[in-house]
Amino acid sequence: MPSALPPLSTPLVALRGVGKVFPSGTRALAGLDLEVRAGEFVTLLGPSGCGKSTALRIVAGLSEPTQGAVAWPQAAALPHGTSRIGFVFQEPTLMPWASVFDNVLLPLRLKGSSASEAAERVDTALGRVGLQEFVRAYPRELSGGMRMRVSIARALVTEPQLLLMDEPFAALDEITRFKLNDDLLRMWQALRTTVVFVTHSVFEAVYLSSRVVVMAARPGRLFADLAIDVPYPRDGNFRTSSEYAALCRRTSEALAQAMAAGGET
């Protein structure tokens, strides 16, 4: 059984004994302990129904835990007025009536910035995802991959400490997905931010993460915590290396055990 990593420094965010029971009586999470340190790329991996998305929503504050708590030990160090969290959904979740510019501007506008004040930041965010020429376009006019880039630019425009991503690339074709994986790693390194990523895909989890947290279902809980000790930057060579294959095998085994432990599926 892979062992949990010892905490190296004060975590950015810590879930302590978090449980979630939905009003319908479904136990989505039970006793989840998870610490995420600044600068990590943590992926939550597990079968459907293991509560990965629920855990992510609880971190984001979109859902309240029914047991336990979410702690932000470094919260005092936050500069005033910045947004702590960026969130990317499985769907691009853009406003179809608004241009790319207005979509990316949204988080700043909701905080009270005017378009002219924020234009430069929107531009920077769109530049990061390579969509500067599309500021005036509408979501309907973009491809699925481009829409997801806009969604990522929107999450990054506030320069969040923590970027939460809920299966953001699940609906994309593999070519687009690989490209976005690489772009995401580049942005993560350039911005020195922290990412918590949710996916079904072992291969995606291993490629991206500095740490993979395998979860089991019924009720959702932490099953294994695997360090992926491969230095960044990672690229196509890593994807085809035997080291990557070995790590994927190890992660798949942990996932298979987690699924066995989660009872019938």
Partner: protein, 269 residues
């Protein structure tokens, strides 16, 4: 292949345009012919030629009436739009208000306006009563559609707004109302035709003479005088008004939604 497909498409489109016109011309020709051959007097059935001539000779009276009816329709429509959207927003913001008032909105809608009009005419000045009728008929589709739209917001977008600490007002203005816009415009398209109906019903119920009388009153009055050609002429004007209102609202719908909503996008693939 593509050229053949587009040629077929063009022919299809031409047929769509030409066939109704052919039917119209044929129908009018038969009508005129029957009236002439059977020597039917105008007080029984005027021919289309006579109706068109009447439209020209009575234009002074008819156009004035048209203007009256259109003004009422337009005012009723604006009130219905404001009232429908306003009530829907109010209901959306407060459950208590919704529970208190919604049943009465339904009652107003299901009670036939023809039956309400005479009462309104007793309690309100005539102009206000006519306007009230137009409003009662037209506001409900706007209310119902807007309510549906406000409740159909993408849940993830709602979460996103919460995540960034959006105020109630920001959620309404930047999320719910834009999401509901296609629904609101759909409601308005129905309301346009209905406010014309409401105005006509009320005018007929009012039935009073005078310079400020609408087209519906002209129809009733001409009926009493067996002036059937003027009845038909007035009816024609009402139809044309209804068609123009419908297409104007369709155009507004298209112009507001063409950049983003599925309903207004051209098939491009």
């Amino acid at each position: 292949m593509i050229a053949a497909a587009s040629a077929r498409e063009r022919r299809e489109r031409a047929l769509r345009l030409i066939l109704p016109i052919v039917v119209l011309v044929l129908g009018l020709a038969v009508w005129e012919l029957v009236v002439r051959l059977k020597d039917i007097p105008p007080y029984a059935l005027p021919g289309p030629g006579l109706i068109l001539r009447t439209l020209k000779t009575d234009w002074a009276v008819l156009s004035e009436s048209l203007l009256v009816t259109l003004t009422t329709t337009f005012e009723g429509f604006l009130l219905a739009a404001a009232g429908g959207v306003g009530l829907a927003v109010l209901f959306n913001q407060s459950r208590l208000v919704e529970y208190s008032l919604y049943p009465y909105a339904v009652i107003l809608q299901v009670t036939p306006v023809v039956a309400i009009a005479p009462l309104l005419l007793i309690y309100l000045p005539q102009q206000a009563a006519v306007l009230a009728c137009a409003w009662i008929v037209a506001f409900f589709p706007v209310l119902a559609n807007t309510t549906l739209g406000l409740n159909s917001v993408d849940r993830n977008l709602t979460d996103l707004f919460s995540l960034y600490g959006a105020s109630r007002w920001q959620k309404l203005w930047r999320l719910k109302l834009p999401s509901a816009l296609p629904y609101i415009l759909g409601g308005l398209r129905i309301a346009g035709g209905l406010s014309l109906i409401g105005a006509v019903v009320a005018e007929i119920a009012a039935g009073s003479a005078g310079a400020g009388s609408g087209l519906a009153y002209r129809i009733a009055e001409s009926g009493y005088r067996l002036n059937l050609q003027r009845m038909f002429a007035a009816l024609l004007l009402l139809s044309v008004a209804g068609i123009v209102i419908f297409y104007l609202l369709t155009l507004i719908n298209y112009l507001s939604l063409r950049r983003w909503h599925e309903s207004a996008l051209e098939a491009e693939r």
